[in-house]
């Protein structure tokens, strides 16, 4: 099985989906000759032409409004927002409009559209190239939000998103693009939306996480295993809908939960996971529901020492595990 980076898996999956379905069209800034700022669409305009690989003006609301209009008229648009930090002008078209198309038309219209959004920090991106923007989308009924962290999951979930008949936001952590490698089958496959996965089985504690933090959590779990602590790592993979059953099953079994996220804590994915654990695992817990997150500050400082202090790290996760294990 060939090994790929996340960005390679994303690129190959988009190319495969465009080959298998002519209604898949690409929209975004610099997706043409430039091949996207992360080279996700490198070579696409040469293969698929200017009709299916559309360099848009620099206007994010337009990109998502176009995607929505084309989606309700027979296309499966695949749009790229260049950086998550630039998605806010499109919130109206995504949260306000696309999310409610099926509901607001009583099922007469559906919007099969996929919006890829590179997000996250640890790349010296400062305040406007580092943001975690998942919460607003994950809060919205009618939207689906996936956040694959591995090349294998990136392929399977992106394929599921493109083939979905409803809008899906695909969050790709940009630090994982070239950092994370893994085996990816050449053949076609999809991963069901809404299913978390145990990435490392364990018996004494569950770490619930997603995105770049999955990899930091796996490193931390490996480190503490040398000290005899057996930690399970659950990768959420889909942020809406959350896989409440998988969370409850794991935490009920291990009795302890540490929720790790790069995002700031207030009203976040970790808040929702904590609520699920509180509601479903109360009598099985033998320690407090614990969170390790960014501090409550605008993400995230540009200066390197401050950026490092802002981000959760494998070392911070090890410390959090140790503290919870003693309780």
């Amino acid at each position: 099985m060939p090994e790929q980076t996340v960005i390679e898996a994303v690129r190959d999956t988009m190319r495969a989906e465009m080959r298998r379905d002519e209604s898949v069209i690409l929209l975004g800034e610099d997706v043409g000759l430039r091949g996207g700022v992360f080279l996700a669409t490198d070579g696409f305009i040469e293969e698929f032409g200017e009709d299916r690989v559309i360099d848009t003006p620099l206007a994010e609301s337009l990109i998502c409004g176009l995607a929505l209009g084309a989606a309700v008229n027979g296309m499966r648009p695949l749009a790229e927002i260049q950086f998550a930090d630039f998605v806010w002008p499109a919130i109206n078209q995504l949260v306000g409009e696309a999310a409610r198309v099926r509901y607001g038309t009583n099922g007469v219209k559906t919007a099969p559209m996929t919006i890829r959004v590179p997000y996250g920090g640890g790349v010296r991106g400062g305040l406007y190239h580092s943001q975690s923007i998942e919460v607003l989308f994950a809060h919205t009924p009618g939207l689906t939000v996936v956040a694959p962290a591995t090349p294998y999951d990136a392929k399977g979930l992106l394929a599921s998103a493109i083939r979905s008949d409803d809008p899906v936001i695909v969050l790709e952590h940009k630090r994982t693009y070239r950092l994370v490698k893994g085996e990816v089958p050449i053949e076609d496959y999809t991963i069901p939306i809404g299913r978390a996965e145990i990435k490392r089985p364990g018996s004494e504690m569950t770490i619930v996480t997603y995105g770049l933090m999955l990899h930091y959590a796996l490193q931390a779990a490996e480190t503490v295993s040398e000290q005899g602590l057996d930690v399970e790592v659950l990768d959420l993979r889909t942020l809406r809908p959350l896989d409440a059953d998988a969370i409850a099953e794991s935490v009920s079994r291990t009795g302890k939960v540490l929720i790790v996220q790069e995002d700031t804590p207030a009203v976040s994915i970790s808040s929702e996971v904590a609520a699920i654990v509180g509601e479903r695992c109360f009598f099985d817990l033998d320690g407090p529901i614990t969170r390790l997150t960014a501090p409550e500050l605008p993400p995230m400082p540009f200066s390197p020492l401050q950026e490092a202090a802002f981000m959760p790290s494998p070392e911070k996760i090890v410390a959090a595990i140790a503290k919870l294990a003693e309780l």
């Binding site: 337009l62 409004g65 009583n106 009618g142 809406r240």
Partner: protein
């Protein structure tokens, strides 16, 4: 015959000039729309219709625009004031009232949305939201899909002068100009964004003049003149179908009623401004035109009014007695992706 009409005639897509017979039919729709619109206002005052936005004053612009299109293949992205356009596209008075009274069987959204919002079950007319100007980028996307497939369809997107101030309007027109999309931007300019007059909305005299900035024609037309609106729309539709790109049409109309049933326009319109609107009533103007051109007798006109009244009464009685949607149906049609609702 204009240059654009010549160009499209070779494609065999030119719609015919408006016949006297069709003019009378359009007038009939305008009268029915007016009576139903007035009835909805009454139903609001009776506490039965929670909210309504009136098309009174916009009727001629809306019927004439629709008349120049082809409902069998064209797309219509409407906004909240497209009462008459909906009727011109064959929506029955009962269907309209189910929306206004939020009754079971509302064809647009099963009464989840405000009246006139949702998607029409028979023609490709939709209006996803109450948020101003969001339909313009969507319309560009609809037109883009047709253009990529080579479909012979035109997208008509309706908006008001208020929407002309939104960034989405600029973004959509800019893109439509770049790609020469088959789209008609149809602005019903009634000079008020709720209470804010035109001179506080823009520093230029017309919305149409902005088209120059996007590289396509903009035309201003008297929105009380059925023939003028029809001809302007026909030229724009022909131009779009021929692959020559967008047109911005600005139809000047009066908003005879306040913004909605929740508004009181005497707070911001002068008595003189309100009084002068009587001369811009498109129903009255069209009646006079038809009579002057001997297309309609006084007796026929009276019969049209009597039939409209009767039709509205029947529809009101029918829908008033109908049930609201079952509460359980509110859980339908959220998303096809599994496990909706997270926890």
């Amino acid at each position: 015959m204009s240059a654009t009409a010549n160009k499209s005639s070779k494609l065999g897509t030119t719609s015919p000039p408006l016949s006297g017979e069709r003019l009378v039919e359009l007038y009939r729709t305008m009268v029915l729309s007016r009576y139903l619109d007035e009835r909805v206002w009454l139903l609001n005052r009776q506490g039965k219709a929670a909210i309504a936005a009136s098309a009174q004053g916009h009727e001629a612009a809306q019927v004439a625009c629709i008349e120049a299109t082809d409902p069998s293949k064209d797309h219509y992205l409407t906004y909240y004031r497209q009462f008459t356009a909906m009727m011109a596209l064959g929506t029955e008075p009962e269907e309209m009232l189910r929306g206004f009274l939020a009754k079971d069987g509302d064809p647009m959204s099963a009464a989840r949305q405000f009246p006139l919002h949702g998607a029409h079950p028979r023609v490709d007319l939709f209006n996803f939201s109450n948020v101003i100007a969001t339909q313009l980028p969507q319309a560009a996307g609809v037109a883009l899909a047709d253009q990529l497939r080579g479909d012979d369809a035109v997208t008509i997107v309706f908006f008001g002068d208020g929407a002309a101030s939104q960034g989405d309007t600029h973004e959509a027109m800019n893109f439509a100009g770049i790609r020469k999309l088959p789209i008609v931007f149809f602005c019903e300019n009634n000079r008020y964004a709720i209470s804010v007059p035109l001179n506080k909305q823009m520093a230029v005299d017309t919305v149409a003049s902005r088209a120059a900035g996007y590289g396509f024609p903009g035309v201003q037309v008297d929105g009380t003149d059925v023939v003028a609106v029809y001809e302007a729309t026909q030229a724009a539709v022909n131009r779009a179908r021929a692959g020559d790109g967008p047109t911005l049409i600005e139809a000047s109309v009066e908003r005879l009623q306040p913004h909605t049933t929740d508004d009181d326009h005497t707070r911001y319109r002068s008595p003189e401004d309100i009084a002068q609107m009587a001369n811009k009533d498109p129903v009255k103007i069209t009646s006079e035109t038809l009579r002057r051109r001997d297309l309609l007798t006084e007796a026929e006109d009276e019969a049209i009014h009597a039939e409209a009244k009767r039709r509205v009464n029947v529809a009101t009685d029918t829908v008033d007695a109908e049930p609201y949607p079952d509460t359980e149906t509110m859980f339908d049609h959220v998303t096809s992706n599994r496990d909706e609702g997270g926890s």
